[in-house]
Amino acid sequence: MLGKVFKYDFKATVRYFVPMYVILAVLTVFNKLFMELVPYNNKNYVATSFKTAFLVFYIISLVCVFLLTYVFLTIHFYKRMTGDEAYLTFTLPIKITTQINAKVYIAAFWSFITSLVVGISFLILAAGHGIIDFFGKICSLIQSYQYSGSIIIFIILFILACILSMFYSFLMIYAAISVGHLFGKYRIIGAVGAYMGFYTILQVISILIMSVSGFFRYSNYRNDFDFLRFFNGYMFYSLVFSTIVTVIYYIITVYVFGKKLNLE
């Protein structure tokens, strides 16, 4: 059943994402053309203006692509779980966990694809401008670093954090929407309030944990102190903390839609 729900969630969302990626691809191609055809010190005012304009469009579109990924997926979840479509969603003979899992996976899927598309777009723009040298320099920098082991751990933790963030950020939105659902007619205001509440509580807890654990006192350490190792430790505990919070968001979402559903 999860596969079937995912299939229809994919069909419902793909029509938003493909045009968005096509626009980014077109802007990438135009930028690449202007980068190659109009050099830095070009005196042609019109060509330089176009180049600048397309670069600005490109940067704006990058911000929009990430922002719209959240907007599209939030709207999709909201419509499917609390709008008119919810009347069908919740009368299908499917467990509530399957419905929510599919929504989490579709969000993680599109987050990953968006990151991939943006990454490819960057690579296309950077191709032929010393990109291989750039990566080579980073590699040699890592190798020459006194505590290279810490860098490998940092990279692993960073990848784990990226994967977790795809689930964490969307489950925070889903949990807020589910809490908002408890407010009946005021569910949008309730959802926004719940999101702000979650955010504030997390910030307070994070700052408390950082203060107690001594994170803010790292500058007192000696010069040869392996900051990265210290930072990895912090990152590890943040990952554990974020995982717990993600599970809590998931439980809230499942509980509200499973036990407190009220489609008025």
Partner: protein, 232 residues
């Protein structure tokens, strides 16, 4: 006859407003039941609870021996009072959707009914009128071989000609093992097809009776008796 649906002391409150108050009744197999009451009497609330769309404040509904949940959703075919179709889909895609999720969905029956009503399977749902969408929704719901059909205002938004077709569809598609509950306030239109009636007023159960008993004992049509009971 075996009991298909049992409503056990259902109460539903929205804040301080009591939409349903201690409702008890049973529905047997092979019956067409009219859930009748004025607007805001609690008919839709009951149907939503039976579908798991509303959580009751207290009490429970038992369908074929199971509390409302994933198992009962396999047995219940629900027509809500609003359009729940995915607007971006074609009619044929919606049929595929139902076919994917409901084991008891009969695709051929759905295409047959579409043809009879002159609705193109290739039509996009967003291009259809409200009435046509309601017909598509009814076709989807009645193309299931479910144990119980819960139809919330199935004839409210369609023209009189389509009403006859809809009622005919309901009668011809249910069998002696299944039951149909039709919620409406347009009683004269559906009176002819009903076996039993349940009257609800302001969230309270007023009456459960067979249509035959009312006609025999009250010597009135259901419509006339309803007007008497719910006189303003």
């Amino acid at each position: 006859m075996s009991c298909l649906l049992e409503c056990r002391s259902i109460t539903k409150k929205f804040g301080t407003f009591c939409a349903l108050s201690d409702i008890n009744f049973t529905i047997e197999r092979g019956r067409i039941v009219g859930l009748l009451g004025p607007n805001g009497s609690g008919k839709s609330t009951f149907i939503k609870i039976a579908n798991g769309l509303l959580t009751p404040t207290s009490g429970e509904i038992i369908i074929n021996g199971s509390s409302v949940g994933t198992e009962t959703k396999k047995m219940v075919s629900y027509l809500p009072e609003r359009t729940y179709l995915n607007n971006w889909m074609k009619v044929s895609e919606m049929i595929a959707y139902f076919s994917d999720f409901y084991d008891d969905f009969d695709k051929n029956k759905a295409y047959e009914m579409l043809q009879r009503l002159g609705i193109s399977p290739d039509a996009k749902l967003k291009t259809l009128s409200k009435g046509t969408k309601e017909k598509v929704q009814l076709i989807l719901v009645m193309s299931r071989n479910a144990d119980i059909y819960l139809l919330d205002e199935p004839i409210g938004g369609v023209d009189p000609a389509a009403r006859d077709y809809i009622l005919n569809t309901i009668i011809t598609n249910y069998n002696e093992n299944s039951s149909v509950i039709i919620s409406t306030h347009l009683i004269s239109d559906i009176e002819q097809v009903l076996d039993d009636v349940i009257f609800i007023k302001n969230g309270h159960l007023v009456l459960t009776s067979s249509v035959e008993d009312i006609r025999m004992n009250q010597e009135k049509s259901i419509d006339a008796y309803f007007r008497e009971v719910f006189r303003c």
